[in-house]
Amino acid sequence: MHATEATTTLRREVEICNACRYCEGFCAVFPALELKREFGEADLSYLANLCHNCRGCYYACQYAPPHHWGINLPRSFAEVRAESYQDYAWPPSLAKLFQRNGTVVALALATGIALVLLLTMAIQAPGMIFAKRAVAPGEFYDVIPLWAMQIVAITTFGFSLVALGMSVRNFWLDAGSERKLTIGGVLYALHDIATLRNLGGGGHGCNDNSERFSMTRRRLHHAMAYGFLLCFAATCVGFIYHTFFGWAAPYEFFSAPVLLGTVGGIALIIGTVGLFAMKLVDDPMPAARKLLGGDVAMLVLLAAAAKTGLLLLLLRATSLMPIVLALHLGVILTLFVTLPYSKMVHGLYRGAALLRNALERDQAPLGSGGG
């Protein structure tokens, strides 16, 4: 992690926090920072990625703006976090995609949809596109051949997995724990990831946009994240059905892939639309303005994936199916391609930071009391 204006600002702030410690009940960040007296860039990157942006500390802070110390941890953490995404990105030449990330993801989405539509048009005989349809096995592959889907999916998703893996490796080498991995530590971290315990402000919820505490954000994030996982599970089950049993899509409504995808898609829409709505009534003070684009772009992309998927389910027996299928696959392609260069990476670094936190959680804070 490089020294920048953002890390300099954050260092000054966490040094003040370390002398105060009033917020230590809110989340894992404060006990973690109490283990240090001096904060290198790697420490700041770790703390920034450990922060879940619940904002409890901002509204509780006696030194928040307009106090002359102007402590605004949620914003400072977000800015360092964003810079850390660039620093750890692989290959480094693509790190620039994190600048103006909203524009990048939006352009990628437009390109992805257009590309898949055009290719579909190109490989289909004229008139076939709007031909009458019935829900029959292999129907989708009439529109876009299976081999085309598989080649594109495996290459793009495969590359993204490698890029994500290399990125999180970069993070761990720079800001990870020097301790050995333990099963207990991994389980502790998985529990934190699964429950978003640290998005709960010590069990009372987040400060969404005021001094008021609420569980709205945590619940919406759960809807989004678990919805996404259900959709991913639907894809995996479909893959297994096809590869091992030879059952070709589309499947009946009461089949595992369709049910998983439907429930997941609805949850994903609730989560993303809800989180987007929260951005509209956000308190601008603790928010990092320049990250808004990338955040919103990812919400739009995920919502688009869910909506086009559900639309495909609704319209798969109509002549609009090929268009909607192309649309859906265009969105999914964009998701695969932008995976390592979008807000999606936050989950990975957050998970790694939670793992370091879990491995080091038995350490005692430096210094004794004061009044």
């Binding site: 040094e15 003040i16 370390n18 002398a19 105060c20 410690r21 009033y22 917020c23 230590e24 009940g25 809110f26 006990p31 109490e34 007296r37 409890g56 500390c57 509204y59 509780a60 802070c61 006696q62 030194y63 928040a64 703006p65 307009p66 106090h67 002359h68 402000g201 010590g202 009372h204 001094e211 008021r212 505490f213 005692a364 804070p365 430096l366 210094g367 004794s368 009391g369 004061g370 009044g371």
Partner: protein
């Protein structure tokens, strides 16, 4: 919404913990309430925004307090720190009431945390607010707003007009404009006067220019002075205040908790002439930090310097400003603006007097100097391992003891001993009745909460009769 032309049942002067407890309680009892906070919204809450916990009696462990802390032990602690300058019946009433505030506080949205670190090991006696005092104040304001308490920020109460022992009207400025407001009852919860340097100068002369005020700049004591000028009975020594050792680089106001320094017991403290003046290792820091503000206030220039070496640096909590660092004692003295030869001489004499016992920072280790005046009776270890560090120290004023006399119904008493008809007080403006001297962590919040609730109850009852 507030309406300054309306006659409210209860007017609360102030916007900290005691004022909020009074306002919410009065509103819950059915009164219409106007709360006037001097600070703008961002700095609301008086000194409560810098607090962290509340001392509470309890006979068995709770989710936020460990073991037990019974009335007699609590009272003993209070009697000891005040040296008897207290009112036993008011004190015991407050102590007993402290065990019953949690349900109400939780109903008002106040959240507590399990005690962790940096807390002077107070988890037995004190319940900690999640996020500290500003979070508590936020919760109370949200509750007050939702109950329909009218709240006006940027509203300074200048005078409460008393006639025949009763409050008739209240003169204020609201956003810089003067208003006269009517109310059936008035609760004064506007704090002490420690931020009023002109008033402090009266007793301390130009030394006040070297004092740091730890809390809000809005505690000007205007209501306090106004009431005392109108024949209200006084409690507390006006010249006295609670002060701790702060980093001399702290801002003049509102530095709060972060500028206090815990280095003293593991260091040698010299004045601006490079001379030691008090036993730095007299007792564990939680029992001694409150006397060091006064000790420094009595030194020339109201400044002192805590000097230590690399061995001591990891032993105490960091403060907000980094220590001044140098490779030799002489260079350190120079950086701190002290005469190097004087400081070298002091350290050499001190080092020569050390060498007994086994150093142990976790307890009174009996590592004492021999033949040194003043002695250092614990943690006396040679300062010999570079790099060397130093902090400049100034007295940091937390609160003043002067207040108005009250009875157990939070009624303000006149000099003739009679209670004012419709005037009540809660919080620091009357804390001197109970804590006339010394300091007990979290007790100010206890007094504010207990008397705030009594004042709110009594005022609402009086106004609605």
């Amino acid at each position: 919404m507030h309406d300054l032309t309306k006659t409210y049942d209860v007017l609360v002067a102030g916007g900290g913990n005691a004022a909020l407890c009074a306002a919410i309680t009065a509103r819950q009892a059915g009164a219409s309430v106007l709360l006037l906070e001097h600070a703008p919204r961002a700095f609301r809450g008086g000194n409560s925004r810098h607090t962290r916990n509340l001392r509470a009696m309890h006979s068995q462990p709770t989710d936020v307090l460990t073991e037990a802390y019974e009335e007699d032990e609590y009272w003993d602690d209070l009697r000891r720190v005040t040296g008897g300058i207290t009112d036993e019946s008011l004190a015991r009433m407050t102590i007993r009431a402290s065990s019953g505030v949690f349900g109400w506080m939780r109903d008002c949205g106040v959240r507590f945390q399990p005690s962790l670190t940096g807390t002077l090991n107070l988890s037995r006696t004190n319940a900690f607010f999640l996020g500290g005092g500003k979070a508590l104040v936020n919760a109370y304001y949200l509750t007050a707003e939702s109950l329909g308490v009218a709240i006006a920020y940027d509203s300074e109460v200048l005078a409460i007009e008393l006639q025949d022992g009763a409050a008739r009207s209240v003169n204020i400025t609201y956003r810089g404009y003067p208003y006269t407001v009517q109310a059936r009852c008035v609760i004064a919860s506007s704090g002490g006067f420690q931020a009023n340097l002109d008033w402090m100068r009266h007793y301390w002369g130009d030394a006040v220019d070297n004092f740091v005020i730890r809390g809000t700049p809005y505690n000007r004591g205007k209501v306090l002075k106004n009431l005392l000028d109108q024949g209200v009975a006084m409690v507390g020594d006006p010249t006295q205040f609670h002060a701790v050792a702060l980093d001399a680089r702290a801002p003049q106001f509102d530095g709060g908790i972060t500028t206090r320094l815990d280095s003293v017991p593991f260091s040698v403290v010299v004045n601006q002439h490079g001379k030691r003046f008090y036993d730095e290792g007299e007792d564990v820091w939680p029992k001694r930090y409150a006397i060091w503000g006064r000790l420094i206030a009595q030194q020339p220039g109201q400044i002192a310097y805590s000097l230590f070496d690399a061995k001591a640096l990891p032993l105490f909590m960091p403060s907000v400003y980094p220590a001044v660092k140098a490779d030799s004692i002489g260079a350190l003295a120079e950086k701190l603006g002290l005469a190097p030869t004087k400081v070298q001489e002091t350290i050499a004499k001190y080092n020569a007097a050390t060498g007994t016992g086994k150093f142990d920072n976790s307890q009174l280790d009996g590592c004492t100097t021999v033949g040194l005046d003043p002695p250092k009776t614990n943690w006396a270890r040679a300062i010999d391992t570079g790099p060397f560090y130093g902090y400049p120290l100034r007295p940091g004023i937390t609160f003043t003891y002067l207040g108005v006399r009250v009875n157990e119904r939070a009624q303000v008493l006149m000099e003739n001993g009679h209670p004012a008809g419709n005037l009540y007080a809660s919080g620091e403006i009357m804390a001197g009745n109970i804590l006339g001297r010394g300091y007990l962590a979290g007790f100010g919040m206890t007094i504010g909460t207990v008397f705030g609730r009594i004042a709110g109850q009594e005022a609402a009852r009086h106004a609605r009769n």
